[in-house]
């Protein structure tokens, strides 16, 4: 990364940081020298409710094929087998080498404590604030900064135009926006089409704009979007190779109510691009010390709906990547897809708290005390060093 890239912080962001002691390392060459070998942590928020049953398909579960006649696959139809029971959607095939290298794991049937409401906004708030309800107004990653034992691991950055909730709070964090104006994800375009459905003039304009990509910085272009995601991941990797230790960004496009196959393919491709690019840009040593945690607000219905898509569900999937994870594993307790095993005979039953997974990774990477994790970072969570996510 060039010096220019490294300091492309917004001026206001920089000034805000420059006034506080926490920003001092940016001006101290010593910190640069002391950097290699330190732990890093990246969160990726998959906004729109990622369908975990599509990304990591339980093809070995006897109920799966009937629930997912259109979306379900087997190794015979292109699924990349992981362990004889689960297989990876080929849209994310770029991740397969990481699985083989023991740098990728999946955690099935996790969720936040959010239940029954199924609003993306509230679900994402819970996921980012780390509380047991939506009352927390700061992000858990920000609160975690305050209780990390070594201050030099506290430099955090949110890769967004403005700070996302997960890193919002009293502790210093910088926010950086990628130069590229991200194109719309497919689910976002679908929502705009619904929005314009009753207004023929708007519908027509939208259809033509999409068709010919007459766009403001290619608002609808797949190629542009892919490049944007890679840029963002490259930037994050660069920042983490320098003096940042904590980073977060989001990937949109997961709200696949209609025509899921095509939409999901793009979103899963974006996720794979992000993780692979992170690894490339971090480089060997830093990647070895990195944990990437990708998570979503909730899962989707076990059954396909009538529009070749899926609707808002409960139990979801989290993804772990990096050289510092217990890799090549499907973690968590698989509840099964039989009708009586589903939540309300509808959703994958959550058997784990995604916050516990996050707590385990913070513990592992930064040695944050369990007391602090359950008291300050994730109030109300039960977690200790014997957590299932720390084994292996």
């Amino acid at each position: 990364m060039t010096l220019q890239e490294r300091f492309l912080l917004s001026r206001r962001g920089f000034l805000a940081g420059a006034c506080c002691a926490a920003a001092a390392p940016i001006l101290t060459p010593v910190t640069f020298a002391a950097m290699p070998g330190e732990k890093r942590f990246v969160t990726i928020i998959l906004r729109g409710a990622m369908d975990g049953l599509d990304l990591v398909q339980p093809y070995g579960d006897p109920a799966f094929a009937a629930l997912r006649p259109m979306l379900g696959r087997t190794p015979e139809t292109g699924l990349i087998d992981l362990n004889g029971f689960f297989g990876l959607n080929p849209a994310a095939s770029a991740l397969a080498p990481l699985w083989q290298a023991g740098e990728l794991s999946f955690v099935h049937a996790v969720s936040t404590p959010y239940r029954n409401q199924r609003s993306h906004f509230d679900g994402q708030d819970m996921l980012e604030s780390g509380g047991s309800d939506t009352s927390q107004r700061t992000g858990w990653l920000n609160r975690a900064l305050a209780v990390m034992p070594r201050s030099d691991s506290r430099k955090a950055i949110d890769i967004n135009t403005s700070m996302e909730l997960i890193l919002t709070g009293p502790n210093a964090a910088d926010s950086w926006s990628s130069q590229s104006n991200f194109t719309l994800a497919d689910d976002e375009i679908a929502f705009l089409e619904r929005l314009y459905a009753r207004d023929p003039a708007f519908s027509k304009a939208m259809a033509e704009a999409k068709e010919t990509d007459l766009s403001a910085d290619s608002l609808y272009g797949d190629t542009k979007r892919g490049a944007g995601i890679a840029d963002m991941a490259r930037l994050t990797g660069g920042m983490l190779r320098e003096n940042y230790r904590v980073a977060s960004f989001s990937i949109n496009g997961w709200d696949t109510h209609v025509g899921q196959q095509a939409q999901f393919k793009k979103a899963a491709g974006d996720l794979a691009t992000a993780i692979v690019t992170l690894k490339e840009s971090l480089g060997g040593d830093a990647w070895k010390n990195t944990v990437v945690l990708a998570m979503t607000e909730f899962g989707r219905t076990a059954r396909e709906n009538g529009s070749k898509g899926t609707d808002h569900g409960t139990g979801g999937l989290a993804i772990l990547a990096g050289g510092a994870i217990p890799g090549g594993k499907i973690l968590g307790q698989w509840p099964g897809l039989a009708d009586d095993k589903l939540l309300d005979s509808r959703d994958l039953m959550p058997t784990g708290d995604v916050r516990e997974l996050a707590a385990a990774m913070l513990y592992k990477q930064f040695g944050i005390k369990p007391d602090n994790l359950t008291g300050k970072v994730f109030p109300g969570l039960s977690f200790d060093a014997s957590s299932q996510y720390l084994r292996g």
């Binding site: 010096l3 220019q4 490294r6 300091f7 492309l8 912080l9 917004s10 001026r11 206001r12 920089f14 000034l15 420059a18 940016i26 001006l27 906004r47 729109g48 409710a49 609003s119 993306h120 906004f121 994402q124 967004n160 135009t161 403005s162 700070m163 996302e164 909730l165 926006s177 130069q179 104006n181 719309l184 994800a185 689910d187 976002e188 929502f191 705009l192 619904r194 929005l195 314009y196 009753r198 207004d199 023929p200 003039a201 708007f202 304009a205 939208m206 033509e208 704009a209 010919t212 007459l214 766009s215 403001a216 910085d217 608002l219 609808y220 989001s250 949109n252 496009g253 997961w254 709200d255």
Partner: protein, 494 residues
């Protein structure tokens, strides 16, 4: 499609006749409340020109005298490109600050109807900063000096003030117009420039196709000869040496120079203002702008009647429009112009003043060399210029650049006819893309903490379809929820 039928008058007043809702701002409920804004607006000093009226006159003449001195030195073989460039930079900066102030004026003023009228008349009497360097400094002055104070009074006063301003005379090449039969014309064979004469009849008063002839255009231009701008003092002057000698006949009336010291053009302007065709042309244009692309004949007629009864008192014409039932019952099919869209977006977001100040500062950052941030960053081996450029680029993309891309850059109309006003123009596919992109950008920058349902209410109150409400509440992420509020048909129509 249109805004739904049963919107409260208060909401409609803000959306159709103002720059949209702003949280906490008192809503004008009826015609009287809207009309009451005019007196207040006229009495107020706008945010531009930044140095005030006399201050701007001084700034502009100072910049021009520096350029004149450099031009003189250049002729003597001692050019100074740095000085020239610096004056260009300064004129650009002045324009940029005023243009930002124009956005802030519309965003922060509680007098939405007055502000909309100012935009209407600035567009009606179009001038452009792109014409020449001095115009970057005096077009904002023109709006503040002649449009805003006169938009509620008799039309003839507004017409005279607009036509007899240096900005208008420069824009329509009046300095190049010499009476062929004037002293100067006979001597050096300089000729007539019909630009101002033509636009005066076609755009400013009678209207295209209203029956005047090419001879009338030429004659009007002849009557206007003698009017010129002193390029150093930036003042309108009357130069008898270039004035065509009368008598000259326009639309059947004969004007002579001996009706006073160069007063023939004033008399002609009075006659044009009083012409019934002018009343019809402008009443219809107002109704088209505020009510519908094809307004009902009755409302136009009511405005024309009010015009003739009041001898062209514009407040009475507006009153006739606002008190006509059609003003409140016509479905909202009009598409907000880009300036209206961006301003109403900022208003709905309730951006505090200091955010604007920051944007202006970021925009100016491009020209800065020193400063605390750049020093600190240089110490760290960084590239402060890159960071400044980025902040400036972002501020620009949110404001002036957005309006440029959407096709309505401030004080830069495509022609003397101003910007288009019809639905078809502002709902083209590329236009929609630009609006979605802008909505997305402001949602990401200013909307992260907003609740989409609440924002929808702030932005549109009851002017929203229940189905739209549902769709927005289901958006896959907050940013997209906020984006959709701004990109919705309801928010883009009025």
């Amino acid at each position: 499609m249109a805004l739904s039928g049963s919107i409260a008058n208060q909401t409609l007043a803000a959306i159709r006749f103002g720059y949209g809702l702003r949280p906490g701002e008192q809503l004008p409920g009826d015609a009287d409340a809207l009309l009451a804004q005019i007196k207040k607006g006229v009495a107020q000093k706008p945010r531009f020109p930044r140095e005030g009226l006399t201050g701007r006159q001084e700034t502009a003449t100072r910049v021009l005298s520096v350029r004149a001195a450099e031009a003189k030195a250049r002729q003597a073989g001692k050019p100074n490109d740095d000085i020239r460039k610096e004056t260009q930079r300064e004129a650009r900066r002045i324009y940029r600050q005023d243009a930002m102030a124009r956005i802030a004026q519309a965003v922060h003023s509680p007098l939405g109807f007055y502000e909309r009228l100012a935009s209407f008349w600035v567009d009606h009497f179009s001038t452009s900063v792109l014409k020449s360097l001095p115009m970057r400094m005096i077009v904002p002055l023109y709006e503040a000096q002649v449009i805003r104070p006169n938009l509620g009074g008799p039309f003839n006063r507004l017409l005279q003030a607009a036509i007899l301003h240096p900005a208008m005379l420069i824009y329509l090449d009046q300095n190049q117009s010499v009476g062929p039969d004037s002293i100067a014309g006979r001597r050096d064979k300089r000729g007539l420039n019909e630009n101002l004469g033509r636009e005066l009849l076609e755009l400013h008063t009678l209207g295209a196709g209203s029956g005047y002839t090419q001879d009338d255009v030429r004659s009007a231009a002849l009557v206007l000869t003698g009017l010129a701008v002193d390029n150093r003092a930036l003042e309108v002057v009357y130069r008898p040496r270039i004035a065509e000698e009368g008598p000259i006949s326009v639309l059947g009336r004969t004007y002579r120079d001996d009706e006073g010291e160069g007063q023939d053009h004033i008399l002609m302007l009075e006659d044009l203002a009083a012409n019934p065709k002018t009343a019809l042309h402008i009443s219809r244009k107002l109704a088209r702008h505020f009510i519908a692309d094809s307004p009902p004949d009755e409302i136009v007629q009511a405005m024309v009647d009010a015009w003739s009864k009041s001898q062209g008192n514009l407040t009475e014409v507006y009153r006739a429009m606002l008190t006509h039932p059609a003003a409140w019952t016509e479905p909202g099919r009009k598409i907000k112009k880009p300036f209206e869209f961006v301003v109403s977006g900022f208003r709905a977001l309730n951006l505090p003043e200091r955010n604007f100040a920051n944007l202006v500062r970021d925009l100016d950052g491009e020209d800065e060399d020193e400063g605390l941030a750049s020093k600190a960053m240089e110490m760290a081996g960084a590239d402060p210029q890159g960071a400044r450029k980025k902040a400036a680029g972002r501020a620009n993309a949110l404001t002036l650049g957005a309006l440029q891309r959407m096709g309505q850059p401030i004080w830069q109309p495509p022609s003397p006819a101003g910007f288009a006003d019809e639905e078809s123009v502002w709902l083209a596919p590329s236009q929609l893309s630009e609006r979605i992109a802008w909505s997305r950008m402001v949602a990401r920058i200013f909307g992260q903490k907003l609740e989409p349902a609440q924002f929808l209410d702030m932005a549109l109150a009851d002017a929203v379809n229940p189905e739209t409400k549902t769709i927005i509440s289901q958006a896959p992420n907050r940013v997209h929820g906020i984006t959709m509020v701004l990109a919705s048909p309801e928010f883009n129509r009025r």
